[in-house]
């Protein structure tokens, strides 16, 4: 009764109020997938409701009021009620700045606000709808501190992983995949890039990049190169028992045409060779190309005049092969057509969830006779028992990729190089329809690149992978959770290598076939106990864990020769009639780790954590298998302090500091042992032939059959090997102003790596198999990185955002044993110590000698003469020699940056993304081709502008003899390779919800996009694309056009 007395007036008051208010109804969906958002908070002045299972809401509000829509992980939205407002259909956008976002950082999840290490959370929207084969390729330039270097091949590096490094290179392993980050996918660690690359972007729930050692040290031994944590969707977060279908599809056309480099035509090449011969004082009609070019000229070496270049009518005098003027780039490359389809089916309720994701990706190849194809599937499921106290489930990724990559010619030159350098006089086809080739006097021994790709067309690389885990979680008592996870990573590669008898030039006189199989199985068993407790203002998290990793790798191969019919269907091992060979090997490693972490926070202001991990690895032999990797971090959320409460302009301010140590074990599995192998000569078909280290010998002098064979030492063991370790200090600040309109973070770090595992070169006298891994060198890397963004919405409904990121690093070697230094740039007077391992060491070019007087006045330089490059006498001893070299820059950039601009207006969205690098010095192959000449290759049009007495230019005088040794490393062609590229431009349209509904869809977005549309570079760099800078062996990065749809049912 008493209650009623109170309630009644309130009800009346409410009714009274309602008279001035109206009911607003509507629906909220996610921009990302068009799904209804359940539980979105809708806040009016007086009341708050949440959206229901279908994303619908109903709320009363007065005209002029502002409705606030907010949801975890989404950017909040404000809508003003007008007299006409009645039904609102809203789209919330995923936010990368939401402070309450929960992220997985190391065997457990934590709130982003509580993070104390340097962790980047990837905005998945930014990497979707990209026609690349791997989410990694879409991350280029998006995450500060994550540096990715790729080429234009479907996988980013012609079948191999692209260069992926986090915060520079820690050790001395160069840019290879020995510096690959550790991927932790659904809690299972792996260093296999393919495990990450083969995930459909649509099935990824989140990607975090752990950059500093304090954040990654929980992963211990393999975390030295940073950690990328991926969590996939499990379909079960929704309260609504509904099946969702999400379908994405795109089609892309790619062309390398805008990036082609000009080369000389047949006649122009002849003219350049004439000029070079005349400059050398040779008779141009008797040099090595005289079978291709004859000249009518005035025979006056002081005032030469060329009247006519006569190109031999046939290549090698073969009447079937008339001379042409082939543009090999046009012949080798074509328009690539890419399709990507991805269907995700998810269903779930409060206790269980299921996600099935099927993908198909096909790239029919920018280069002739190449392709890349992938089928993949993901099945994630989980459920609970005993009132939710027992949770179990599995995550599984299956993928099969099939590809034909670019190849080399029979002499080992990449076809990409040949597309620029092969003589243009060779026709693509002979008149009988077979491939033209460089047969005959005057030609190099390189092959027709298109023919090489043609002969390579059956050489498929197939890879099957299964990756995932089965897990169970038990709430032992309140707040204490035990989790066990069995992770598996299985990959099976099958490479087919068919060598055919070719039509053209120096190719094999017999055919052969090799099938090489590799199998790798990694088994990871992880057990953790977590304890979470809140005592008053204190929060305590404790984690204890154990992890066992068992990796086994084996190879098996078989080969046969002499196949009677050269047909793909006939090439099966049993069909050859020649000598059959087999090979096989096995290796592996084991890891055993214990780890623990304690996190404590007080009053949401003070944060602290301590991590310790102890790792044992079989790779270090018996003396020092264990390493201990501790970390300690502190955080201070200043904006939660009382004294800061009034500073409303600052919505978030957190200081972070951490120190941590991580390890590295990237050495051979058996580095601790001195090993002898029987190397009959079949052991490794991928071995370079010239590395002739066989142990078999025809002692009986019978010339054939099985030979006696023995053993040879292949490596020198080091039982005292121990972990390489990196200790890093990171200081960071996260900030947000004006209610997160301005947001970002800044991190500074300093890392020292010691006991770096190196393999010093040994004196040749010591002999074969004496290379040994030792813990020898030290390195320092310093850097900073920031993210700064601004986003807002105009009253007119245009929302816009601009996000920038930049990262800078400088690395230097701080200690390096004397006997190893020769393996790095520098000389006895210029030690690499104090310089980056990526330094270029060479001569300083200071111009072109214009006349003999200048030559005479200059320090003596062997080969100097008018028209020749002058090099600086840096040590001032009056002569230019090996002691006049200096540091010319580094090949790894010191700054990487990215900028993204996004606009949203009504149903349209538009984004532009660009990224670039600075502080990079690179080899400019086009400058080289435009300046130098030889009798083998083709060159750039720049050579037609070579220096002559009559026309002194800044291009060296053409010379075949090259007596001045101008291909020596110098800043003439190692130039500033900085660039900025507009990587993507995208315009999307979301079908209005009502229209979508009318075609039985929850949402439909269509979009068009352009990739790699524009590049800016330093003018010193003559190649069009500095990203492909150091070699044309890399695929050109093409320009692409994409149309695509994202549909939700």
């Amino acid at each position: 009764m008493r209650k009623l007395q109170i309630l009644l007036p309130m009800l009346l008051l409410a009714l009274f109020s309602l008279a001035q208010q109206k009911i607003i109804t509507g629906k909220v969906i996610s921009k990302t997938n068009g799904e209804a958002l359940v539980g979105v908070s809708v806040q009016a002045k007086r009341n708050t409701v949440t959206t229901d299972a279908e994303g619908k809401f109903s709320i009363s509000a007065a005209v002029g009021e502002i409705l606030n829509f907010s949801f975890v992980g989404m950017t909040p939205l404000k809508v003003k009620i007008t007299s006409s407002t009645s039904n609102l259909n809203l789209v919330l956008e995923e936010s990368n700045i939401d402070l309450n976002q929960v992220v997985v950082t190391g065997y457990k999840s934590e709130k982003k606000v509580d993070l104390t290490g340097a962790v980047s959370v990837v905005n998945l929207n930014d990497i979707k709808n990209n026609p690349v084969s791997s989410p990694m390729l879409a991350l280029q330039g998006q995450v500060p501190g994550l540096y990715i270097q790729t080429d234009g091949s479907p996988t980013g590096a012609n079948g191999a992983p692209p260069v992926i490094i986090i915060r520079g290179v820690n050790n001395l392993n160069g840019l290879g995949n020995l510096n690959s980050p550790l991927y932790v996918i659904d809690g299972v660690p792996t260093i296999q890039y393919q495990d990450f690359a083969n995930i459909n972007t649509n099935s990824i729930a989140s990607i975090q990049v752990l950059k500093d050692a304090s954040a990654s040290s929980i992963y211990g031994s393999r975390a030295a190169n940073g950690v990328i944590i991926v969590t996939t969707k499990d379909g079960g977060s929704s309260a609504a028992e509904k099946v969702h279908l999400q379908f994405s599809s795109l089609a892309t056309w790619q062309t390398e045409k805008p990036w082609q480099e000009p080369v000389l035509s047949s006649t122009q090449r002849g003219e350049a060779l004439w000029r070079a011969a005349v400059n050398d004082g040779s008779d141009p009609n008797t040099i090595s190309t005289s079978s291709i070019y004859q000249y009518q000229w005035n025979n006056d070496y002081t005032n030469p005049v060329l009247n006519n270049v006569i190109v031999a009518p046939y290549v090698g005098g073969d009447s079937l092969e008339p001379s042409a003027s082939t543009n090999w780039q046009n012949a080798l490359f074509k328009t690539a057509f890419i399709t990507s389809n991805d269907l995700a089916i998810s269903a779930g309720n409060k206790t269980s969830g299921l996600l099935i994701d099927l993908g198909y990706y096909n790239n029919n190849g920018l280069m002739q006779f190449t392709y890349y194809q992938r089928f993949n599937a993901r099945i994630n499921a989980h459920t609970t028992a005993f009132n939710g106290k027992f949770r179990f489930g599995e995550n599984m990724q299956l993928a099969r990729t099939s590809q034909v990559n670019s190849t080399t010619d029979v002499g080992g030159d990449a076809v990409g190089d040949l597309a620029l350098t092969l003589a243009p006089t060779i026709p693509l086809y002979k008149t009988d329809g077979t491939y033209g080739g460089p047969v005959g006097p005057g030609y190099s021994d390189r092959n027709n690149p298109v023919d090489m790709q043609y002969l390579n067309r059956w050489n498929t690389n197939n890879l099957f992978m299964a990756y995932g885990n089965v897990f169970a979680e038990i709430d032992i008592v309140k707040d204490l959770v035990f989790r066990t996870s069995l992770g598996f990573d299985y990959s099976e590669g099958l490479v087919k290598l068919i060598k055919q008898i070719g039509d053209e030039g120096p190719v094999n006189s017999f055919n052969s076939m090799l099938e090489q199989e590799t199998k790798e199985f990694t088994f990871t068993w992880t057990n953790t106990l977590t304890y979470n407790k809140v005592f008053g203002k204190s929060k305590l998290n404790v984690l204890l864990g154990l992890e066992q990793v068992k990796d086994d790798y084996s190879t098996f191969g078989a080969a046969n020769t002499n196949f009677a019919i050269q047909d793909v269907n006939y090439f099966q091992l049993s069909s050859g009639s020649g000598a059959q060979t087999v090979n096989g090997s096995a290796t592996g490693y084991r890891l055993l780790s214990q780890f623990g972490k304690v996190f404590y926070s007080y009053g949401d202001r003070y944060l602290a954590s301590v991590t310790v991990r102890r790792d044992g690895s079989s790779r270090f032999g018996t003396n020092n298998p264990y390493g201990i990797f501790p970390a300690f971090t502190l955080g201070w959320r200043i904006n939660n302090e009382d004294f800061f409460k009034n500073v409303t302009a600052v919505s978030n301010l957190k200081l972070r500091a951490g120190v941590g140590t991580v390890g590295n074990q990237q050495i051979g599995n058996l580095a601790a042992y001195t090993l002898y192998y029987a190397n009959y000569g079949t052991s490794n078909p991928a071995y370079p032939l010239w590395l002739n280290t066989g142990t078999a010998y025809d002692l009986q002098g019978v010339n054939t059959g099985t030979l006696p064979s023995g053993f040879v030492q292949t490596q020198l063991g080091n039982p005292n090997l121990k972990w390489e370790s990196t200790t890093e200090t990171n200081i960071g600040v996260d900030y947000g102003f004006l209610n997160e309109k301005i947001f970002g973070s800044f991190d500074w770090y300093n890392r020292n790596t010691s006991n770096i595992l190196i393999q010093p070169p040994v004196p040749g006298a010591v002999g074969e198999g004496q290379l040994q891994w030792v813990n020898g060198a030290s390195k320092n890397t310093k850097g900073w990185e920031f993210v700064l963004g601004y986003r807002n919405r105009t009253p007119g409904g245009l929302s816009y955002g601009i996000t920038t990121n930049a990262s800078h690093w400088v690395d230097k070697i701080t200690a390096l044993p004397e006997d190893v230094r020769a393996a790095y740039p520098g000389d006895p007077n210029h030690s690499i110590i104090g310089h980056s391992q990526f330094s270029i060491f060479g001569y300083k070019e200071i111009g072109i000698f214009q006349n003999q007087q200048q030559v005479n006045a200059a320090p003596s330089q062997p080969g100097a003469g008018p028209g020749r490059l002058q090099y600086a006498d840096l040590n001032g001893d009056g002569k230019v020699d090996v002691n006049d070299q200096t540091w010319l820059g580094t090949t790894l950039p010191t700054l990487e940056y990215g900028i993204r601009i996004e606009l949203n207006y009504k149903n349209f969205d538009f984004s532009v993304f660009g990224s670039g690098v600075a502080g990079k010095t690179g080899f400019d192959p086009v400058k080289y081709m435009n300046s130098f000449i030889d009798t083998r290759n083709n060159y750039g049009p720049g050579v037609l502008n070579g220096w002559t007495v009559q026309k002194p230019t800044s291009t060296p005088a053409l010379s075949i003899l090259n007596l001045n040794n101008e291909n020596r490393t110098s800043n003439f062609f190692y130039v500033n390779a900085s660039y900025f590229k507009i990587r993507s431009v995208q315009l999307g349209y979301n079908l209005p919800a009502t229209m979508a509904k009318s075609i039985k869809m929850e949402g439909l977005r269509i979009y068009v996009a352009g990739d790699n549309v524009l590049a800016f570079k330093n003018k010193d760099f003559e190649s069009k694309d500095p990203e492909r800078a150091n070699s044309f062996a890399l695929w050109p990065v093409p320009t692409g056009f994409t149309i695509g749809i994202n549909a939700n049912l």
Partner: protein, 582 residues
């Protein structure tokens, strides 16, 4: 609930402490760890691998054929290939221009690679010797022979290093690898020769006279022949400028004695047909004293342990080959085959005119018959196949290197011994290191220096007589001789005055004709101390015929040997002293 907790904790504790060490113990698969190599099978395997070691090379840095080191640098041949830039480092070797310890950073694997490969082979010998020293004769009955063989192979490789680099680090199996890294190259040239001779002497002492059923192994006579070869080089004493200052009579007497043992053994003789030395089917024949054994279709990856050191030397334009046309006989070498009216070398006038295709015919100028075994000449049977005459169209760079083709190391594309591997070619035909003709001429050389001119005459004439027996294999299809052969033995008082200078000149000439393109030439010139005058004379006339040689010049006191590779000096922290002039 409580029980769950206890179980969990036990589980964790168990994992923490149980079996850690064992779990991390991963043993090598398919390999032998070093201490395991003590069984007789393993010891035999190590010595077999040492044989493989002396043949493990590739055209980029040969240690079997010396064409890159001695033929193109001795005036017998040009580099060849597709222009001067093709394997430019060889162009530098050939012209003695810009050869630098680090090759100006130009990434040359040539002589630095040969250093690494030769020492690699030596390390295999030492590994085998360490194992052999540790095993008993009872456990391993072949122990003594294998010890001798390993000393032989080690001597062979040190000999190669000696003639290439002169001052080299020398060591034996008694040093550990760590100690070897500390051995400088300061041992005197004289001492180095003694060390090399010691290895061959040990081989002589330990080896059996024959290796039944295993002709690939060294035997005692091969060791005697090689010891004689080392002594012959050693006998010409050189000063620091590589000027020959005298001849050591005692050593020359040893050469005579050792070669006599080989000659009188009755185990070796000259092949009746000179051609057999360069043809398939005659491996380990009567003339082969020691040879590198090659094989084909033996189950190895590339289809055989083939002769890949000469694999660049097939013709670029010949359809059956396609690449790469290196190692082109020089005009001067072809001229040197011409003979006078008596069928003797034209010692002083041979190079006055450049022989052309027209001169080299059935009715052309007088020629030593060995020319058609050595040099591909327009219209002449190629490799003993009259149906396949050599043709200029096969030449790859006839602008720079046109005229002739090499032949001795090549085989017909139709030979069962031949394999084409992309642009490269290999055969299973053995490569002789010492053939019996060499034994005869080594003794002849020693006898001349000792003043025994008549003994030398008999030996030289033995070689010339075989050359004069015109091979039925070099006939044109119509049965005629491709060249106008005219050759005779030396007949003192009849066609020659056989005094000491003439005899030595005849010996030098005979070695060149007999072994032309087989690549002892440059090493011979350095041994005799005449590299500088011979090569600069060669360049003076040859550059008029081939303008690419315009900058070629031999510098006495420097160019007799390659530089010590700079990387080796750096890897040893400057332990090695660079050769003079570099």
């Amino acid at each position: 609930m409580k029980r769950n907790r206890i179980i969990s904790w036990f589980l964790l504790a168990g994992l923490l402490f149980a079996g850690c060490k064992k779990y991390l113990d991963y043993q090598p698969q398919g390999a032998v760890a070093a201490p395991g190599l003590t069984s007789p099978t393993a010891v035999e395997g190590l010595s077999t691998a040492a044989y493989a070691g002396i043949a493990n090379d590739w055209w980029d840095a040969p240690i079997t054929s010396n064409w890159e080191w001695s033929s193109i640098r001795g005036g017998d041949s040009y580099k060849g290939g597709g222009g001067l830039n093709d394997q430019f480092q060889m162009d530098r070797y050939e012209q003695f221009y810009l050869v630098a310890p680090d090759n100006n950073g130009a990434g040359d694997f040539g002589f630095p690679g040969a250093w690494i490969r030769a020492y690699g082979a030596i390390s295999r010998c030492n590994a085998a010797l360490r194992a052999l020293n540790a095993i008993s004769d009872a456990d391993f009955p072949n122990r003594k022979s294998r010890i001798g063989e390993m000393h032989f192979l080690r001597g062979h490789m040190f000999f190669f290093l000696k003639v290439m680099f002169n001052r080299i680090p020398w060591f034996d199996e008694t040093l550990t690898d760590a100690q070897i890294a500390l051995v400088p190259n300061t041992m005197s040239s004289d001492s180095l020769w003694y060390k090399i001779e010691d290895d061959f002497q040990t081989a002589v002492n330990d080896l059996p006279t024959t290796q039944a059923g295993e002709p690939g192994r060294a035997n005692q006579l091969a060791a005697k022949a090689y010891l004689a070869k080392a002594l012959l080089y050693h006998a010409y004493t050189q000063d620091n400028q590589y000027t020959v200052t005298g001849t050591d009579m005692a050593k020359l007497n040893q050469v005579v004695s050792l070669t006599n043992d080989v000659i009188n053994s009755g185990m070796y003789s000259l092949q009746p047909d000179f051609a057999y030395n360069f043809l398939d089917g005659h491996d380990n024949g009567p003339e082969s004293v020691f040879a590198i054994q090659y094989s084909i279709n033996d189950g190895t990856q590339i289809g055989g342990r083939l002769s890949m050191s000469t694999s660049l030397n097939y013709f670029g334009g010949a359809p059956q080959y396609g690449c790469c046309a290196f190692h082109i006989p020089s005009q001067e070498l072809v001229n040197a085959f011409s003979t006078d009216v008596n069928g003797l070398p034209k010692f002083d006038t041979y190079n006055n005119v450049a022989l052309t295709d027209a001169d080299l015919t059935t009715n052309g100028v007088n020629m030593d018959p060995r020319v058609d075994h050595t040099v591909g000449i327009q219209g002449h049977p190629f490799k003993y196949n009259a149906a396949l005459p050599y043709d200029h169209s096969w030449e790859r760079d006839n602008g720079d290197y046109g005229g002739f083709g090499t032949m001795k190391e090549l085989q017909l594309a139709t030979c069962a011994c031949f394999k084409k591997l992309g642009p490269f070619y290999g055969t299973s035909v053995n490569m002789d290191v010492i053939r019996y003709a060499d034994v005869l001429l080594m003794q002849a050389e020693a006898q001349i220096q000792l003043g025994n001119l008549n003994a030398a005459l008999t030996l030289i004439n033995q070689v010339r007589a075989r050359a004069a027996a015109i091979s039925p294999l070099v006939k044109n299809t119509d049965g005629s001789n491709p060249s106008n052969y005219k050759i005779d033995i030396y007949k003192p008082g009849v066609n020659i005055v056989w005094d000491q200078p003439t005899a030595f000149k005849a010996l030098q000439w005979e070695r060149r004709m007999e072994f032309a393109m087989e690549s002892p030439r440059f090493f011979d010139l350095v041994r005799w101390g005449i590299a500088e005058p011979t090569l600069n004379t060669f360049f003076a006339t040859e550059k008029l015929r081939h303008s690419f040689l315009a900058n070629a010049h031999f510098t006495h006191g420097r160019d007799e040997y390659f530089p010590i590779p700079q990387e080796q000096i750096v890897f040893t922290n400057g332990l090695y002293t660079q050769n003079p002039g570099y």
